[in-house]
Amino acid sequence: MLTKRIGGIVLEKQLAFKPDYVPDAKRKASYWRTARRNIKKHWQLHLLVIPPILFFLIFKYYPMLNAVLAFKDYNVIKGIWGSPWVGFKHFQLFFENPQFWTLVKNTIFLSGYLILAGFPIPIILALMINEIRAGRFKKFVQLVSFAPYFISTVVMVSIIMLFLAPRLGFANVALNYFGFESINFLGEPGMFRSIYVWSDIWQTAGYNAVIYLAALAGVDPTLYEAAKVDGASRFQKIRHVDLPGIVPTIVIILILNVGNVMALGFEKVYLLQNPLNLVNSEIIATYVYRIGLLNANYSFATAVGLFNSIINLVLLLTVNGLAKRLTKSSIW
């Protein structure tokens, strides 16, 4: 943000569209005058943003209005707005539902596991890649580790299923080869979370490392010089220069991760689900899909989804606020 000093007062320049700083009384009027002049002069730009704005209004904001469905009993004939209000009935039904705690627990456990295991690995990977000499091997490591990111969820789950298939899958063939019994991996509820998390790390660690690599490239080179003069070993250099240098990035990524605990992706969980592992694999997002779209219980599913969105928003704001206070890094 630009700042401008007028009469000894520093003004934060919030709207940067014309640096017209005049005494307070006239400011508002002049603001709108500039605005009007600006729109008139750049009408083409304003015309250009209309279709994208319509897109956001129709497909992002209108659904937020539609979420009032959660407080109504949806009736197909009467439509969303004509249906009768029922207050918090659906929320209450959800909280009293015996499945409620299972769903919340499954969502949080899966997300938590994913963060605990999946968050440090890209950082370590980036630190390691950063250590090796620039050259073919370095390029190759980056190329290969990044590649699985482009595999679609459907293909990823297909690969998991082929590898872990009860009889013919690679994992069981290998187990049998070494004299162990076969395991029906996907049928074991206890294995579901590990399968989900580790396949996710396999797929995204290289991609996530790129952000840290960029941050590492931005660390002040004089710090390395100083470390060398002090006779720091490679490990000490990582510990005292590299890591502190990327802490702001780490914090921001952590905020985004924790803030999205409840917004766990539907796609992969849904595809990995089967009746045997459902005890651990039914999360809020898949439940909403099942109840809402498959059973056409629109109002109830909307309430569940809304509950999820709100918890998520609150989490994100809390974590962001905490991070701001503790480390001075935040996403806004």
């Binding site: 304003h46 990044f146 459907v154 297909s158 089967n274």
Partner: protein, 301 residues
């Protein structure tokens, strides 16, 4: 900078440091193997004989080279349809998405654009809060888009993250002087975008095209909820019905003795290869654009 630093370091590298570095090389090599192995295994299986695949004889390289899986694949109408549909969705979807993204990202990058901050908040808010699955479904339904091709092209056309990336690129890479000069020459904004901004923005357009194209090619969720007619299904949905649905948790392959079932098993590997290859083949050539795109985003993100 890094090159200078390492060459200096190499002169007086201590024994401990050399062991540490050696350790890193070993771990990274192991990681490369862990990532590559499943991919090679799948490709090898897809071009092995059905019997070799089902008896677990494929470990790394193809056994009894055969292309029966692919032959069988292209005999199946639904796979061809899915492939053609996916090509259509990817092309049309990317075109729409990239156009809309630039239409909003460029004005947002202009300092003098009135309402810039408000508009930015308007779109970033949709990143942290959403109406949810059902309310969005109702909107799509209300517009009569259910079970039409539009349902896959429009409702998720703009990704906010892409707008942010494109905007920071425009902000940092289009010199202000060019704009001033063109304004003096009486050049309109649209004309400026067309003949100055777009030609200067090839790297970011490449990033947008690639991200959206890969996203479209790999998507299945929208198709799952919005489409009902099989002749509109993209490849990913076909893949799901052939590989995943016929596999989930059941022990049906206990009787996979019959040749037909061996072929069915092989077909899965071939399908994975066919669905992923287009992306993985172009990937090494475009990787640097992806990395660039992420860097641009992270600088100002």
């Amino acid at each position: 900078m890094a090159a200078i630093a390492t060459s200096k370091r190499r002169i007086k590298e201590s024994a401990g440091d050399r062991i540490f570095l050696g350790f890193i090389y070993v771990i990274l090599t192991l990681l490369v193997i862990i990532v590559l192995y499943p991919l090679i295994y799948i490709i090898s299986s897809s071009i092995s004989s059905p019997a070799a695949v089902t008896s677990g004889r494929v470990w790394l390289w193809p056994v009894d080279l055969s292309f029966r899986g692919f032959e069988e694949l292209f005999r199946r109408g639904e796979v061809i349809t899915g492939y053609l549909n996916s090509i259509f969705y990817t092309t049309a979807g990317t075109l729409i998405s990239v156009t809309l993204t630039i239409m909003i990202a460029y004005p947002l990058s202009r300092r003098s654009f009135f309402g810039r901050n408000a508009l930015m908040m308007f779109i970033t808010f949709t990143m942290i809060f959403s109406g949810g699955l059902i309310p969005t479904y109702m909107v799509v339904k209300g517009l009569d888009l259910i079970d039409t091709r539009w349902a896959l092209l429009i409702p998720n056309a703009i990704w906010v993250w892409q707008v942010i990336i494109a905007r920071s690129f425009f902000q940092t890479s289009i010199p202000e002087e060019l704009l001033e000069a063109s304004e003096i020459d009486g050049c309109s904004d649209l004309r400026f975008i067309w003949s100055v901004v777009l030609p200067l923005s090839k790297p970011i357009i490449a990033v947008l095209v690639l991200m959206y194209a890969v996203g479209q090619w790999n998507a299945y969720f929208d198709a799952l909820i919005y489409l009902k007619s099989a002749d509109l299904f993209p490849l990913q949905l076909i893949l799901r019905s052939i590989i995943i649905q016929n596999n989930s948790g059941s022990n049906m392959d206990a009787i996979a003795m019959v040749e037909k079932q061996q072929l069915a098993e092989l077909l899965k590997y071939s399908l994975i290869v066919v669905a992923t290859l287009p992306v993985l083949i172009i990937y090494p050539f475009v990787q640097r654009y992806f990395v660039q795109g992420m860097l641009v985003g992270s600088v100002k993100g």
